[in-house]
């Protein structure tokens, strides 16, 4: 009821605006691009982005839009392919004339696309690309809403050494930008902590048989395995470890932060004792409680990057409100210097566009197929 009233009010306001002859300015929507993998093997992450931003835009529009103009979302599918990412980026900039972009997801897509946004002076905030290179290239309009792999790897390494008391650690990755970046960061920290990994190898994305690798893990008598990669490989990997009688814990990063891990591992029994790093779960924060309820009522569990995407839109909206502008350079300058209150709490960025505070924590899966923060 409240919403309908607001909408009516907004419509009435818009109508009055039309009458006063400023129709073009007022009713013309602000376009926001949402870029990510909506097809291909990573499409489930794209869906999380879309769900997050869609709800965010609906809420903002219900509250009267930004600067009195409604928001319009433009979906842009990059399928996590660099070439497509560049193509959709120039499309968003040139054809759609978006004011800001939320995306992309795969770091290998974000890196080439961000160059295009920066060149056109369009604000880009990625809710989920964690590769350090994204913000390490002096691009003033590029931000991220998440942590970086080098921070994530540090948390993982310290957890393995200090909490799990891992002596013979094996480091695996899936040979993607993300997975290998994570594994490298982890390995580096391991060396700082005075440990040498017993094995450092990659597996092929898209394969399901890792038995040979698991036997090799057994041969080197590893007592903790770190995996940089996504759930589609982590699931079969942990299952085959357990089937071959390996009890060593598997530790991974945000790429497996999805309940699909349970399905792809073949049941909750296999994910018991899997650890993963992720930002402090935004669903537990007081700021986001109401929103999580709205999602659950619609039958969608806002896991993974859903709330990150929502918060990203909030940050963009806040910058637009504060600067009364949609110009990328101005928005970026404001975001570099000001903190934003979001559904995930207060967020602030440094001069590179990284979050000032990284909040990675460790989660543990139990035998019921649920995960909980390790305290």
């Amino acid at each position: 009821m409240q919403k309908t009233k607001q909408l009516l009010l907004f419509l009435a306001g818009a109508f009055l605006f039309c009458l006063s002859g400023q129709a073009v300015q007022a009713s013309e929507p602000i376009k926001i691009g949402v870029a990510g993998p909506f097809s291909g093997s990573d499409a489930s992450f794209g869906e999380q982005f879309w769900r997050g931003v869609e709800q965010g835009a609906a809420d903002l529009n219900a509250a009267g839009g930004i600067l009195g103009r409604p928001l319009q979302l433009v979906k842009a599918d990059d399928a996590c392919e660099p070439k497509q990412a560049s193509a959709v980026a120039s499309r968003l900039v040139d054809r759609e004339k978006v004011a800001a972009v939320i995306g992309h997801f795969c770091s290998s897509s974000t890196i080439p696309a961000s160059a295009i946004y920066a060149d056109a002076g369009v604000l880009m905030i990625t809710p989920g690309s964690t590769n350090p290179l994204v913000t390490e290239r002096n691009l003033s309009t590029v931000f991220r809403m998440c942590g970086r792999d080098d921070q994530q790897g540090v948390v993982g390494a310290e957890f393995i050494v200090q909490r799990l008391n891992g002596q013979r650690v094996a480091v695996l990755h899936d040979k993607t930008t993300y997975g290998q970046g994570l594994a490298d960061a982890m390995k580096k920290r391991l060396h700082v902590l005075g440990k040498q990994e017993v094995l450092y190898e990659g597996l092929t994305r898209g394969e399901k048989d890792f038995n040979a690798l698991v036997t090799k893990l057994k041969a080197v008598q590893t007592d903790a395995v770190y995996f940089g990669g996504y759930h589609s490989e982590a699931g079969p990997l942990v299952r085959q470890m357990r089937e071959q009688g390996m009890k060593a814990p598997l530790v991974s990063g945000d790429g497996i932060f999805s309940e699909i891990l349970v399905t792809s591992a073949g049941g909750p029994a296999f994910v018991d004792g899997v650890y993963m790093t992720f930002g402090a779960d935004p669903r537990n924060l007081p700021a986001g409680r109401g929103l999580v309820e709205i999602y659950r009522k619609k039958g969608f569990e806002p896991e993974g990057y859903t709330l990150y995407a929502y918060a990203t839109l909030q940050a963009i909206a806040a910058a637009m409100h504060a600067t009364q502008s949609v110009e990328g350079e101005k928005l970026a300058q404001w975001l570099h210097n000001n903190a934003v209150e979001t559904v995930m709490g207060k967020k602030a960025w440094d001069s590179k566009g990284d979050l000032q505070v990284s909040d990675y924590v460790m989660y543990r899966w139990d035998d019921k197929g649920k995960y909980k923060e390790v305290d």
Binding site: S39, T204, A212, T215, E243, T263, G266, G267
Partner: protein, 308 residues
Amino acid sequence: MDIYIFGQQWVNGLVLGSTYGLIAVGYTMVYGIIGMINFAHGEIYMISAYLTAIFLALLGTFGLQSVPVVLVLVLLGTVLLTALYGWSVERIAYRPLRNSNRLAPLISAIGISLILQNYIRISQGARNQGVPPVIDGVWRIPANAVDQHFVQITHLQSLIVVTAFASMAVLTWIIHHTALGRACRATQQDRVMANLLGVDTDRIISVVFVMGAAMAAVAGMLVTLNYGSFDFYIGFLMGIKAFTAAVLGGIGSLPGAMLGGVVLGLAESFFAGFVNSDYKDVFAFSLLILFLIFRPSGFLGVPEVEKV
């Protein structure tokens, strides 16, 4: 290197190789009969994985508990429907191109594999899917009495190996000892002549596609049960690997497909296990190239005589 690790890698390679072999049958038979690389075959395998999970879940909702009954029903359903997919693909995309140039069916095969992948993605979603474990149990052979090391093979893995070799034997028997098999071989040797002698070659080619799809379905079901995880993208990599196996064994030869599969599986396992899993696939493809240069007809293929 400990002997139990060696033994375990042997088992790993054999299981993996058996699945390669089952899928390689489809490539080798189609290539043998119409000289075409059926790039959509990997997607047929992918579809069978989805069908397995769907039938398994369907029987689950009916409350069927007995494992053997469930397995047989799922196998029947999966094989029949996958074969129907194989047949339809041939009917729609390859038969109209029967008498055109050699490359046209190749392109339409690539088109079909794009269609099938996206058809599954749109209807079933892009997310990873899975099946719950159906067959548990494992045989473990202790390496020695002192420590707890062992070589193991799960019941399901042994089922994969046995099924692969058994179905290959049955298929080879069909090809060599039945009227249908004779017609297949006649079509393979000279399609025009076979046609003149009263063999309905179009039908025979359909049968070959159906047989290849059925074998891929057997593989798809067993692999799905074994790894418990699949997505719409698994067909591509599996297809390329199985095709490599078919070439290694000598394309056109049924026992060769099986042998090639096992050799490829073992090579991958041993290379990943004892050298480096990063370069496992590089090794597999290098093996393929070297083989083609020095023994182009594979293990069991017949050297080709150029006809003038």
